[in-house]
């Protein structure tokens, strides 16, 4: 599936509530490589390689600063810092 332009992921856990509920599905555009603040992206955690879904807050020097919408329960760039764009797998274009 890595070569397809669109990937589908099931979202586990609640750190993107209320915009993405636990158990939702996200369609990810793998060819969408320009990221702006406000975009929701799927990325590999720099900590352990887990696939994460987060929202881009700002662009920094080293990459993107990503944060969960439900910030109180989210582990994100506040913990692991900016993430390189190369570890971002794509942009979420549709949520169901």
């Amino acid at each position: 599936m890595a070569t397809l332009p669109i990937g589908i992921f099931r979202v586990a856990e609640r750190s993107m509530e209320p915009s993405i509920h636990e158990g939702s599905y996200v369609l990810v555009c793998r060819w969408c490589r320009s990221f702006s603040p406000g975009d929701v992206v799927v990325l590999r955690s720099p900590e352990d390689g887990t696939v994460l879904v987060k929202r881009v807050k700002t662009r920094g020097k080293k990459g993107l600063f990503v944060i969960g919408d439900n910030a109180a329960v989210s582990r994100d760039s506040r913990a692991f810092g900016e993430v390189a764009e190369s570890s971002v797998m794509g942009k979420v274009v549709y949520t169901a």
Partner: protein, 167 residues
Amino acid sequence: MNAVKAILRGLDRIVGFPVAYAHCDIPCGIYDPHAAQVAAHTVVRMDSLIADVVKGGVSSAEDRNKLVRYISVKEQHAEILKHEVEVLWSDYFKPDHLKEVPGLHELVWNTLKLASKAKQSTDLKVAEELLESVEKVAEAFWKTKKVATVRVKSFYPTERTFVYPKA
């Protein structure tokens, strides 16, 4: 549930989409097999100390006091070990990790059983088996982190070995 989601859910049951974690905090992220290994070394050490004091005949109140303290510490540290390994198992390890460490469930199960056995016994061999098993858990942990490990002689009176990540 809308129609798209119903379709996706149906497909998911068939093909199994990958999971993206929104990643809840507390206590995500802080995991280490170090504490479990320290506990295993403590159990080994206590069995040696118990053997020493028993060899002397346990003739005085002082000796009895020592014996009871060693057993008590062995009991506590076997319990710490179980807790530490259980946390790695339930919280850290993810289904994906099973591909890298296919025997993970069996390994954890054996380790926990050995910890119980080490409580029941004062046999040094059982404690050594426990240590070996915990070291395998440590190696499995670091493998899933893509970090190479090294087994070095421990810096404790127990000597034997300890698994460290290769810095």
